[in-house]
Amino acid sequence: MFLQQIINGLVIGGVYALFALGFTLIFGIHKIMNLAHGGIFMTGAFIGLYSVQAGLPLWLAFILAMVGAGLVSVIIEVTAFRRLRQSGEVEFSALISSIGANLVLVSIAQILSKTQVLRFPFDTFPVVIFKVWGLRVSALQLAMAVLAILLVAGLSWYLYRTGFGRQVRAVAQNERAALLAGIRPSVIYFQTFMLSGMLAGAAGVLVGLAFNSIHFMMGDPFLLRGFVVVILGGLGSVAGALVASLGFGVLQTLSVAYLSSRLSDIIIFGLLFAVLLLRPHGLFGRDEAGVLRGRR
């Protein structure tokens, strides 16, 4: 039973990771808190759903959702952030601008869905359950885990093994130096926002399938959890976000299973608070700001 909960938690954690990685990617590289990330995730779920309803096979719907969410993310970069980046007043204004972008996405989804909760058709994903050593693992869970692993591996490969990735990381370390070295910022922004959006879109479809519920507000709770995971992992740290997501998934599943769901929130956010006090830059984060405050 306990092991079963761990497995359930890990699968959910894998999906959190997809969501959180896109979020932390943008922050780590561009120092922008993109609060429209929840909206992009929701957009992915909607595109996936509408594609399936239009009769497309699920795999195609999944790809369309990823690409569509990626494009929406790129559009948000251009409309919500590009001007601000040039003005140099990014921190707060980008926050509010991205809230605005999120509201636009939410509003469109609300109008399209007429404020209804939508569901995938019953047989979208075959209901098959495998039993291994007394543990129950559904085909959907298996697929979610495999996809999460593939996508995270793909992201790592991209960031650490390709020339594009090297450029992206150069920008993350020192944007000005990278620009002087001839890296075109618009190309980098396009890539990071596309990747971030694609991951969010994938997470959207998977969450839509897993909970079989898609609605215009579905991004908000994920945004909240995304914050927790990303901060625990250390903003901008890919490995940190991954570990924190899995841990968070397990913790949440266990605390809901063995305690009440209300206590679960107190525990999770209390833990977040405590971790931040002990490690002010998250579990895997480094103090890159280098704020010179003086000894005390």
């Binding site: 003086g294 000894r295 005390r296």
Partner: protein
Amino acid sequence: MTDLVLENVHKNFGGVVASNDVSMRVPAGRITGLIGPNGAGKTTLINLITGMLSLSSGKVLFGGHDISAEPADRVARAGMGRTFQNIRLQKEASVLANVMIGFHRHETCSLIAAILGLPSSRREDALLRQKAMALLGRFGMAGDADSPAGSLAYGHQRKVEMMRALATDPDLILLDEPVAGMNDVEALQLGRIFRELADEGKAILLIEHNMRFVQELCDHVYVLDGGRLIAEGTPRDVVADPAVITAYLGEE
């Protein structure tokens, strides 16, 4: 008389020694120079003195009190003012506002009076405004009182920093490259002000690249290289010191 005394000040970052057993004396009423090639550890030393970094070992005495472990704001309140090499101003705020913040440690009105806007708070505000204007007059910048500090030329911004440091009414002023970006006439004017301040009994520690300025102004000079003192003495002696020449030439 408030002298600053460094006794075997030592600092290492990880394994890198940034400040190696530095002992020096910055007496009141004098202008003391601190020079050295880039990366010699001047800024580290300033940060150790002003409480921005903690010492690995050694002591910083100010007016006879050990301030080695005091936090930066208490060091400042003990009477140490400073300017920054990379000018740090409130760029949006007016020049006047930038100078007025310097009076902070001498403000007396109560918190409640400030929150409720009681007469005592308003009186103090008006008084500080006058005092700040007087400082601006001394530096020939009264006409810029309402300009945003960030809109001024480089040299003028340095002056604003100095006025702000002076507003704290310090016993010791650390000037980190105060005449960088100024022409000779401006530098000369400032030099005269520094001398006046020393004559008033303040201790002045001048960190500077401009050797001519140091030679003209300083009473005593310390030379830092690779975190350790390699020479000290009158400006004339120091410039002739072979170790100093090697340090500077070696840099090029």
